[in-house]
C-alpha cells in the first residue's frame, strides 16, 4: 500500500484552513474534549502516576512481544478462537474474505476498527460482492457519504448536525428532515438493528488482547460492538500485533487512562471481554470467532529502539485533540488513515518517509501531543528523527523509504551553504553582498518563496556582527 508519488500536506492543509465551517466544527469539538479530559484528571499526581504505570505496562508488553503473542495465540486456540497472521493488508483482506466465503457469508456488519480502515477492507469486500456496513454511528454517517474518518475516536466530527440532517433525509429511505439529535440517532438505530439481525458475519477491532487468558477486549459506548460480535453467527476480529498485554489486570489502568484521555469519560458504557465463541449449552453468541493479527510495518517499527515507542500507542486520540495543527485543519487534510500527531508518526513509517516527507514537517514541534499522551510517546523527538531519515541513509536504519525524500535543490543549497561557511574569504564576500543587497532580493525569488509563502521575508542587518565588532571595537572574550 505504498503511495508512489509524494503527497503534499501543505496543499491540503492550506485548503482546509480556508473552510470556515470545518474550522468551526473542529474548534467546538476539540475545545470540548480538552475540557472534558482535564476534568477527569483533577489531581496531577494521580495523572502522572497513572501515565507512568500505563507507559511501563506498554513498554513491558513490547519487551516480550513475540513471547506474549505466542502465549496469546495458544490461549485463543485453546478457547476456540481461530488465529490467523497477515504480513500485509492485502493478506489480511484475503483472510477475511476466505473466512467469510468458507461460511457462505454475504453480508458483514462492522464495529469500529481502525485496522480495518488501514486495510481498506470495505472497498475490498465490496469489490468481491460482499456488503460491509459500518455500525458505529459516526462511521455509519461517513460511510453514507463515502468519506474516511477525520478523527480516530469520533470519525464524523467534521460534520455538524445540519449537514447530517440533510444527509439522512436524502440517503435513508423514508426519512424525514430533522435536526433533532435524538431523532437522527433513532433513525440510524432502526436501520442498523435490522442489519444486525440479518448479517451473516460481524467484524470488530481489538482495544487490548490479553495473553494469559486469550481474551479480546473491546471498549465502546454505543453497543454496536457487542451487536456485531454477539448477534451474527460469525465474528471476525482484526488487530495490530502490538495490542497484546500480559495480564487482564494490566488492562485495567490502560482502560482507565484510555477513556479519560479520549473522550473525558471515567468509564465507557461497555467493556466487552470476548474469550471464545458460543460455549457448550450457550444459547447465543457467534458459532465461530476468528482473529487476524496484522503486521503492516509494525515489526519494522519494532526493530528500531527509538521508533519502537510508536507501538506503545493505545489510540486514544488525545494528541489530535490538543494539536494546534490538527484542531485548525481537521483530519482529512492529512490524507491518511491516522491523522494528527499519531498519524504524522505512523503514516510515514507505514507508507515511506519519502512520499510522506511533507507530513513530517507539518508540525511546529510544540510538544502538546507528548504532554498529554497517556503512554508518554515522545512524538516530537520521533518526528525529528523521521525528518532526518527522510533525507539520509544512515547505517543501521531500516526505516521505509529512508533517504528518498532528498531533493536535488535542497542538496545543492546545503552544499553551497557548507562551501561558503568553510571558506572565510568567500564567507566575507557573501556576507558583504547579503548585508548590502539582501533587502533588494524579491520575496518571490526561487527558493526564497518556499519560505515567504507563509512567512515574512527575513531582512539581513545592514552590517554583519563581525563588521560592527571590527568597526566599533570589542574583544572575543
Amino acid at each position: 500500500m505504498h503511495a508512489e508519488k509524494e503527497i503534499l500536506f501543505r496543499d491540503s492543509a492550506s485548503k482546509a484552513l480556508l473552510d470556515p465551517q470545518l474550522r468551526a466544527n473542529f474548534r467546538r469539538a476539540m475545545d470540548g474534549l480538552i475540557t472534558k479530559r482535564r476534568n477527569q484528571f483533577p489531581d496531577p499526581r494521580d495523572l502522572q502516576d497513572l501515565r507512568d504505570l500505563s507507559t511501563t505496562i506498554r513498554s513491558r508488553s513490547l519487551l516480550s512481544l513475540p513471547e506474549l503473542l505466542e502465549q496469546f495465540e495458544a490461549n485463543c486456540t485453546k478457547n476456540g478462537i481461530k488465529v490467523h497472521w497477515a504480513e500485509t493488508c492485502e493478506q489480511a483482506n484475503n483472510l477475511v474474505l476466505s473466512i467469510m466465503q468458507a461460511k457462505g457469508a454475504k453480508t458483514l456488519v462492522k464495529g469500529k476498527s481502525m485496522v480495518s480502515e488501514e486495510m481498506h477492507l470495505n472497498a475490498f469486500l465490496e469489490s468481491k460482492g460482499i456488503e460491509a456496513l459500518e455500525s458505529d454511528l459516526g462511521e455509519y454517517i461517513i460511510q453514507l457519504d463515502g468519506e474516511t474518518p477525520s478523527h480516530i475516536i469520533m470519525p464524523a466530527i467534521h460534520k455538524n448536525k445540519d449537514q447530517i440532517a440533510r444527509q439522512f433525509s436524502q440517503k435513508i429511505k423514508d426519512a424525514k428532515y430533522t435536526e433533532d439529535v435524538d431523532e437522527l440517532t433513532a433513525m440510524a438505530r432502526k436501520v442498523l438493528r435490522e442489519k444486525f439481525l440479518k448479517a451473516d458475519a460481524g467484524l470488530s477491532g481489538v482495544n487490548f488482547a490479553v495473553a494469559e487468558t486469550g481474551t479480546l477486549c473491546l471498549v465502546e459506548n454505543e453497543g454496536n460492538g457487542r451487536m456485531s460480535t454477539h448477534v451474527p453467527p460469525l465474528h471476525i476480529a482484526v488487530m495490530g500485533l502490538e495490542k497484546v498485554v500480559a495480564r487482564l489486570e494490566d488492562v485495567a489502568p490502560l482502560y482507565a487512562i484510555l477513556t479519560r484521555s479520549a473522550t473525558g469519560q471515567a468509564v465507557s458504557t461497555y467493556f466487552n471481554m470476548i474469550t471464545g465463541p458460543r460455549g457448550t449449552d450457550e444459547k447465543d453468541g457467534p458459532q465461530e470467532v476468528h482473529l487476524v493479527i496484522l503486521d503492516n510495518g509494525r515489526s519494522r517499527m519494532y526493530a528500531d529502539p527509538q521508533l519502537r515507542a510508536t507501538l506503545r500507542c493505545i489510540r486514544c486520540g488525545a494528541c489530535m485533540n490538543h494539536c494546534p495543527v490538527y484542531t485548525r485543519i481537521g483530519g482529512h487534510a492529512y490524507e491518511a488513515i491516522y491523522p494528527g500527531p499519531i498519524g504524522k508518526m505512523v503514516t510515514p513509517q507505514m507508507e515511506g518517509v519519502g512520499v510522506r516527507h511533507d507530513l513530517l514537517h507539518g508540525s511546529s514541534l510544540c510538544g502538546a501531543c507528548a504532554e498529554v499522551c497517556p503512554v508518554e510517546i515522545p512524538i516530537p523527538e520521533i518526528l525529528v528523527r523521521l525528518r532526518r531519515e527522510a533525507t539520509h541513509e544512515d547505517v543501521g536504519s531500516n526505516v521505509l523509504g529512508r533517504g528518498t525524500g532528498r531533493t536535488g535543490t535542497e542538496d545543492w543549497a546545503w552544499r553551497i551553504w557548507a562551501g561558503v561557511l568553510k571558506r572565510p574569504a568567500l564567507y566575507r564576500v557573501a556576507a558583504w553582498f547579503a548585508t548590502r543587497f539582501g533587502k533588494a532580493l524579491p520575496a518571490s525569488a526561487p527558493l526564497i518563496k518556499n519560505w515567504t509563502r507563509t512567512r515574512t521575508k527575513p531582512v539581513p542587518a545592514r552590517r554583519s556582527l563581525s563588521e560592527r565588532m571590527r568597526a566599533e571595537g570589542g574583544s572575543h572574550e
Binding site: 502516576d49 497477515a86 471481554m273
Partner: protein, 220 residues
C-alpha cells in the same frame, strides 16, 4: 498463512531486546479505596450521571420491586434466565397476569426476530460492581445468555451492595478473572449512548435505551 506467522515472529525475535522487565508501581490503583458502606453510593452517583436508574430493595423484597417496576411501566413481557438462581427466584414469586415472564431457554436462532422486535425488557443478575467509576460486572453464559442485556430496549439488572468492589482493577483480581474467563464477560456503566453527532449525547443508540439497577442493600 503459517508463513506469515513465522516471518512476523522471526522479525520480532531478531529485533531482540527482551531484557529485564521494569517493575510496575500500582500505588495509584491501590489508593482508590472506599469503606464498604460508601461503595454503593459512589457507584450509584457514577451511573446516575450517565442516565442509569436505581430501585432500592432488600434480599427479601427485590422480586416484588422488579414486578412493581414492570407493572408501572406497563411492560408486555420480561425476558429472564429460568435456570440461574436469581431468575428462578423471580419466577417463583411472579404472580399471574400483567407482565409476562419469558424464559430465554432455547437457541437464539429459533426466535431472533421476536427477540429483536417483541421483547420489552431483559432481567439479569450481576457478579459485582465497580465503585470508583460506577459499573456492573456481568458474566453471561448458558443460564443467562449474552443478548439479554443487549437487545431488549430495557435492561433490569440485580446488584447486591456486598459485591461492589473498589475499582475495575480490584474486581478483576477478586473475581479471579485473570486466571480464566468465560467466553464472555463485561462491564456495563449505563444505557447505550453516542455523542457522534456534534458531541451531543443521545441515549439508546444500538443497545438498551434504559438501564434499571435493582440495588439490594445486603450489607450487615
Amino acid at each position: 498463512m503459517s508463513d506469515a506467522r513465522t516471518a512476523i515472529l522471526g522479525r520480532l525475535r531478531a529485533a531482540g531486546g527482551a531484557g529485564p522487565l521494569p517493575d510496575l508501581d500500582t500505588a495509584v490503583l491501590e489508593r482508590r479505596q472506599w469503606p464498604a458502606a460508601e461503595r454503593a453510593e459512589r457507584l450509584r452517583k457514577g451511573m446516575e450521571a450517565v442516565h442509569t436508574e436505581f430501585l432500592e430493595a432488600t434480599s427479601a423484597t427485590w422480586p416484588a420491586v422488579v414486578r412493581a417496576f414492570c407493572d408501572r411501566e406497563g411492560l408486555k413481557n420480561l425476558l429472564f434466565g429460568p435456570t440461574c438462581e436469581d431468575g428462578a427466584e423471580l419466577a417463583r414469586s411472579w404472580a399471574p397476569g400483567g407482565t409476562k415472564l419469558m424464559p430465554y431457554d432455547r437457541p437464539v436462532e429459533t426466535f431472533k426476530d421476536e427477540l429483536f422486535t417483541g421483547v420489552d425488557a431483559g432481567f439479569t443478575g450481576t457478579v459485582g460492581g465497580v465503585a470508583e467509576t460506577g459499573g456492573l460486572l456481568l458474566m453471561p453464559g448458558p443460564a443467562e445468555p449474552r443478548l439479554m442485556s443487549l437487545v431488549p430496549p430495557i435492561h433490569i439488572a440485580l446488584l447486591r451492595a456486598s459485591t461492589i468492589q473498589d475499582t475495575f482493577w480490584s474486581a478483576v483480581k477478586a473475581l479471579g478473572w485473570g486466571r480464566s474467563l468465560p467466553p464472555n464477560a463485561l462491564l456495563i456503566s449505563g444505557p447505550s449512548k453516542t455523542a457522534d453527532i456534534e458531541q451531543t449525547l443521545a441515549y439508546g443508540v444500538h443497545g438498551p435505551k434504559r438501564l434499571i439497577v435493582v440495588l439490594v442493600q445486603d450489607l450487615a
